[in-house]
């Protein structure tokens, strides 16, 4: 994993709530056997008319060139539904490094953290303030100080992250590295009566 410290970027707004992972990456694209390349099917059915790449839906935000950036800002309860990690891969493969919302579904949050995609939970009010910004606005997310700032207005909020996960992200380790380091303890545990 690549270490993640600070993200300073414009953002892509996606206000609908309860966006489920079936929308993020529809099931028919789960047939790949590698992790790469899911970005081109991100929000596939919201992005294209009749599944046709030559017919982008102009009203969908990913088809609006004025919006861009490494941060996706989404409505409440983002990533609910199916546990497919492909959703986090697709968002990351598209080029996002962080997703901001006022509420994340559990499995999605875990999957994101496990892949170095940073989920940032903010208050409903702060989320509304971000959505109120124009397409030129930028955000700064600083993992070290656990803060997110709307650069133009200076409004800032702190966000929570598990200290262990934070260390992993800052250093680019993952859980497997950790678990492998404690294999002897796991074997000892297996030997005990339960």
């Amino acid at each position: 994993m690549i270490p993640l410290k600070k993200i300073h970027s414009r953002f892509v707004p996606l206000p609908p709530e309860n966006v489920d992972t079936d929308q993020i990456i529809p099931a028919r694209f789960l047939k790949a056997t590698t992790r790469e390349g899911f970005g081109k099917n991100l929000f596939r059915d919201w992005r294209y008319e009749h599944d046709d790449e030559n017919r982008p839906k102009p009203e969908f935000v990913l088809n609006q060139p004025q919006y861009s950036g490494e941060i996706l800002v989404a409505g409440k309860n983002f990533g609910c539904g199916s546990s497919r990690e492909h959703a986090a891969w697709a968002i990351q493969d598209y080029g996002f490094k962080a997703v901001v919302s006022s509420f994340f579904a559990d499995i999605f949050r875990n999957n994101s953290l496990n892949n170095g995609l940073l989920p940032v939970t903010v208050s409903d009010a702060f989320l509304a303030q971000i959505f109120a910004q124009g397409n030129e606005a930028t955000l700064t997310i600083d993992l070290e100080s656990q803060s997110i700032t709307i650069d133009a207005t200076g409004q800032q909020e702190k966000f929570e992250i598990n200290p262990y996960k934070k260390t992993c992200l800052l250093n680019g380790y993952d859980d497997i590295d950790y678990l492998l380091s404690i294999r002897p303890a796991i074997e000892a545990f297996e030997g005990q009566p339960h």
């Binding site: 309860n18 489920d20 079936d22 789960l30 056997t33």
Partner: protein, 483 residues
């Protein structure tokens, strides 16, 4: 100190505690399938590792397998590659595979319990969110992502934070025509599709105790649809009777000892939950969803909410968007609305009891000519049982199409899809946009409600179905047929 069922199991599985971090949780059983495992095997191999405890892993192919002509090569190339990779990976890593053609093949959450692999007190994971199903046996069972599948492959452990705990108590007696699917759809409609996020749920109360194991599985299955990490029910005599004699259940030598352990698995009197909810069984009616998340459900004889009446702006927009997709109007009833498809299957409702209930209702009747009805048994074992009991004949006479075991139209990864714009009453667990095929419109309901619609061709209150024509001189009422 009084302990919850969850903590009794959790505490026994904590290998160690990471400072300021999660617990290292030991995993007893790991189920895998073709869709969420290939990248995990690849990752593992990239690190030069073998699966650490292959005997604790069980594999099946279910998500994108065809449900007809399973003996022929899979037509869709990508699906074929995925299934083939699973075969190769399992071989390479010494993992037991119940693949296509195997008598134990089926939907992963159907075969685990029916084979007796799922047992009380276990920790169980699978790269699939409906792993919560196994919690019906008093196990901690939850869905994981592919990176976590790789973690369990590498170490038989996961890093997990202790979730908050919720208990949902359902007391009283269920009214006629109301089954376990209605209970869970009712709960989700009350607490919303995110109402249990961050929680692990225990279902308790006299109405739950009265349910069969299969009915309990239906409830635990859908825990994830209210955002919960998982759901569980304390094991009891019903559980033990179900388990006894199953293929991989503890044999005679071990049964008594296991039983002693299992009997300690319940939430102690006075155990504290972060949240408790109380529901009266008598209030529950047959349920149906009208929207594009499982929380948007109403009683079958109710009306679709009028969005203006909903105070929360986000929720209001959701409903408006959902109704647009569904082609439905606020303030209108669903009763009497024509449907084009009925899908009876999925890990929620494809077990033998579900199919028996359906058969009892349709026996001697025919489906409506405008409806296409698909019945997809959850496993090869269920399919064999359907034949053994002659239910296949009942279905054939009714004009239902019985297919082979798999996930099928639950997620539209194989050719079983619902065409855009058409309505399907489905016994599965998700009604998201495009879940059953691009543009498909899904109404979630119980197998009884689905069967009733198959007969009438419209959304029907199963309690209103007229008594069926006399058969052999004896006319049975719907009510008798249900019980």
């Amino acid at each position: 100190m009084a302990k919850t069922l969850f903590d009794k199991i959790w505490d026994k599985h904590v290998v160690q505690q990471v400072q300021d971090g999660p617990s290292v949780l030991y995993i007893d059983k790991h189920f895998i399938h073709e869709v969420t495992s290939p990248q995990a095997f690849k990752g593992l191999e990239k690190r030069g590792l073998k699966v650490f405890r292959p005997q604790q892993v069980v594999a099946t192919a279910d998500h994108n397998v065809p449900t007809i002509n399973q003996h022929l090569p899979i037509k869709d190339e990508l699906s074929r590659i995925q299934v083939q990779q699973l075969i190769e990976n399992c071989k390479k890593h010494d993992i037991e595979l119940y693949g296509l053609g195997h008598p134990f093949q089926g939907i992963v959450h159907v075969i685990g319990p029916e084979l007796g692999i799922t047992q009380p007190g276990m920790t169980i994971v699978c790269g699939d969110s409906h792993t919560s199903t196994h919690g019906a046996f008093g196990a901690i069972a939850f869905g994981i992502g592919t990176s976590e599948v790789e973690m369990v492959f590498a170490s038989q452990c996961l890093l997990q934070s202790h979730p908050k705990l919720m208990r949902i108590n359902i007391d009283g007696e269920l009214p006629d025509g109301v089954v376990s699917k209605d209970i869970i759809l009712y709960i989700i409609s009350k607490i919303t599709s995110s109402g249990a996020t961050g929680y692990f749920v225990e279902y308790a109360g006299s109405a739950i105790r009265a349910l069969s194991m299969e009915a309990r599985m239906t409830i635990c299955n859908m825990s994830i649809e209210m955002g919960a990490r998982g759901g569980m029910i304390a094991p009891d005599e019903t559980t033990f009777a179900y388990m006894k004699g199953r293929q991989f259940a503890p044999g005679n030598g071990q049964w008594e000892e296991k039983l002693e352990q299992w009997k300690t698995l319940f939430s102690d009197e006075g155990a504290v939950f972060d949240k408790e909810i109380f529901i009266k069984a008598e209030e529950i009616e047959p349920m149906i969803t009208y929207g594009t998340n499982p929380g948007l459900g109403i009683a079958i004889n109710g009306t679709i909410p009028v969005a203006d009446s909903i105070p929360d702006e986000g929720e209001r927009k959701n409903i408006i968007k959902a109704l647009q997709y569904m082609g439905l109007e606020p303030g209108k009833p669903l009763l009497g609305m024509p449907v084009q498809h009925v899908f009876i299957g999925s890990c929620t409702n494809s077990r033998i009891e579900d199919l028996r209930q359906v058969a009892a209702l349709v026996k001697g009747r025919k489906k409506n000519e405008h409806v296409h009805v698909m019945i997809v048994p959850g496993s090869q074992q269920v399919a064999r049982q359907v034949k053994a009991e002659g239910l296949d004949k009942v279905f054939a006479e009714a004009g239902f199409e019985v297919r082979q075991a798999g996930c099928s139209a639950c997620l539209g990864m194989n050719e079983d899809k619902i065409p855009a714009g058409e309505y399907c009453i489905s016994t599965s667990n998700r009604n998201f946009e495009g879940r059953q095929g691009a543009g498909a419109r899904t109404l979630l309901a119980s197998p009884l409600t689905a069967a009733a619609a198959a007969i009438t061709g419209v959304v029907t209150d199963v309690r209103d179905l007229t008594p069926r024509p006399p058969e052999g001189g004896v006319g049975k009422t719907t009510k008798e047929a249900i019980n």
